[in-house]
Amino acid sequence: MKSPSRRSFLKAGTAITAAAAGLTPRVAQAGPANILSPDRLGVLVDTTVCIGCRNCEWACKIAHDMPTPPLETYEDAAPMQEMRRPDETALTVVNKYDHPARPDLPTTVKVQCMHCDHPACVSACIVGAISKQADGAVLWDTDMCIGCRYCMVACPFQIPAFEYHKAIQPRIMKCDFCTDRRKEGKLPGCVEACPVEALTFGPREELVRVARDKIRRNPDRYLDHIYGEREVGGTSWMYLADRKFEELAFPKLAQDPAPGVSESIQHGIFAYFVPPVSLYALLGAVMWTTRHKHDDEVELL
């Protein structure tokens, strides 16, 4: 490249600065923190009540029009022998954990999307296809998703599943908190199907009070820990148990929101485009001051 003339250099430089300044970064995007409603909903799962009947698994498939085996087949407890995860064919599964002290009475745990208050998937999604709703649900939008699976990388609970065997329009599959059913005034499918009321649906703040109350009244029955009350900044689904949550395969997570420092780094690098524009100016200055330099140092080697 030839050295640019001073005039064209200044002209283009000014144009670039103006163009960069004219771009408004979307850093002030409506993050979950701004839209969380105090009345947002949640579910409290009492694992000490759950009997492992797997009716919730069946009801979930019915509610989402997925291929569903007849209800009787769910009486078979055999599938619970092996550790299962929600996937693209089942948005919720119940796992069984033997209790060392009482072999006849294992703990059964329903697993699904936790609907985090500060979801990593929402922060990560390249196109913003996943959003936290004011009512607490974390929803995925099929019209936006490009199928990059970064939400799966980000999720601390390893929940989103992907339809790997579809060549066209593969979907990200996860619990949608039965948003469609709730719009019709119905309960989430699993909550309605639970025969022993192990699942309590209601405003999250109310559920935290209920859970505390349960722990206070039955200190022998419950571990003094509401899983999801503070984990990764709080989740809409919360759990009670009579034993350590790590024994029930819950990940041990910190109380910081799941996106962690990645958002601060991201917003730091792009703080109103100041760092990139400064770098641009600096490089421009170097280019301008060295324009007449012709070194012959290579010959000297």
Binding site: R85, Y150, M152, A249, P259, I269, L283, K293, E299, L301
Partner: protein
């Protein structure tokens, strides 16, 4: 000597035994790729709900971006700092970067489930997503690279436009258009060159931010808040070794005299760059006390040690030696080690370090995944060959620029 070099299309035949091997590898990759488009990602890859990302992201995208860093580091050296002596390596590095980023873009498109929505990030923005920033930067930078390459195209065709048959009447107008384009580019190119460097620093670092959100799912040997800095430093450090690596391969393959004075000098510049990277890498390891994970022999600890030892320490020591700077073979080994080290680092970060909480079996790439990745690399090398045979990219000694001498330089 390099002052008498002028980039020219190389006069070699395209087909050689090596090229035939590359064509076969490319065809094999494309065949597997057809399977991905017909039957979905799951049919060809070992990816699943536990391991959403594999080598298509780790190698094709992450390592592809890192190893294309020669483009912006030589542009900074040759154009921004005006170190004219290095201009002989700028064009080959630019070509590698352009082809590398094209492979990255294609690699991303085939890895995402809905390739036909690849344009969505252009209009659907999520400012908090590191992937969004990487995507935007890569798209813009790729355009900048194509613009930076345009003068090579105009140089090739100005005065030589020769359209076939009835289009011959357009020869003169096309030539005028090319000259106009060339003049405009000449005046504005510095804008794009600086832009290319800025965009590179941005997304090279943001590629490191990508995995931070995986939090405890990533092995503590690699998971650190300074990942973006480490990615940037390693990209800067691998830029010149990559240029040395490919320049020596190209001169060997085309039977040219290696540009030893320039390459040796570049090798010397690698020392501080690689040294700074090593310092931050080790400092991070000790400050976070992650070295405890090196006490046990696991896949992770072995990979980490290999990455540091053979990817940084050994080549660093080599580049410091004067005899290495003067020997094409040793210089090639040192450069190849750095290139391999950064490649391994990206694989480690995106694949090896990723340990999901409910993994039932570890991920290993399928034959299909490996075939596609190898196929892409083969296509890259083939395109490089096609372009240097037809466009003025590689510098050859130019007799018209050379002072009269009894001896002529082979080339």
């Amino acid at each position: 000597m390099s002052h008498y070099m002028r980039p020219q299309p190389l006069d070699r035949k395209f087909l050689t035994p090596g090229v035939i091997v590359l064509l076969l590898l490319a065809a094999n990759g494309l065949a597997w790729l057809a399977g991905r488009f017909l039957f979905g990602i799951g049919a060809v890859t070992n990816l699943n709900n536990q391991y959403p990302w594999g080598i298509w992201i780790g190698i094709d995208v992450a390592a592809g971006v890192a190893l294309a860093a020669g483009g912006f580091t030589t542009a900074a050296l040759g154009h921004v700092m005006h170190r004219e002596a290095y201009h002989v390596v700028v064009r080959p590095a630019l070509l590698t970067a352009m082809l590398g980023y094209t492979m990255v873009a294609v690699g991303v498109s085939i890895d995402i489930g809905r390739y036909y929505y690849i344009w969505h990030p252009l209009i659907m923005w999520n400012g908090s997503s590191a992937l969004f920033e990487v995507g935007m930067c890569v798209m813009i930078y790729m355009t900048v690279l194509y613009i930076e390459f345009l003068p090579i195209v105009t140089e090739r065709f100005i005065g030589r436009v020769n359209l076939p048959g009835p289009l011959a009447g357009l020869n003169a107008p096309v030539d005028r258009l090319l000259r106009l384009l060339d003049r405009t580019l000449d005046r504005t190119m510095f804008v794009f060159i600086i832009m290319g460097v800025v965009l590179s620093t941005l997304h090279q670092s943001s590629l490191g931010t990508l995995m931070i959100i995986a939090g405890p799912k990533m092995h503590p040997l690699w998971q650190t808040p300074i990942l973006p800095l480490l990615f940037l430093l390693s990209a800067v450090a691998v830029g010149f070794p990559m240029v040395i690596f490919e320049s020596l391969i190209a001169s060997r393959s085309f039977g040219l005299k290696p540009e030893m004075p320039v390459l040796g000098r570049l090798g010397r510049m690698v020392v501080p760059l690689l040294g700074i990277y090593l310092a931050f890498k080790l400092g991070d390891l000790f400050i976070r006390e992650a070295f405890v994970h090196l006490k046990t022999v696991t896949v992770e600890s072995v990979m980490y040690v290999v990455e540091i030892l053979f990817g940084i320490v050994v080549p660093l020591r080599m580049f410091m030696t004067r005899s290495v700077q003067k020997s094409p073979l040793l210089l090639f080994v040192a450069a190849a080690l750095v290139v391999g080290g950064v490649l391994l680092n990206r694989i480690n970060n995106f694949v090896v370090a990723y340990t999901p909480p409910y993994a039932t079996e570890a991920y290993f790439p399928s034959i299909g995944e490996i075939s596609v990745t190898v196929g892409f690399i083969a296509i890259l090398v083939l395109l490089y060959r096609v372009i240097v045979l037809n466009f003025p990219v590689i510098g050859l000694p130019d007799r018209t620029l050379m002072p009269a001498s009894k001896y002529s330089v082979r080339g």
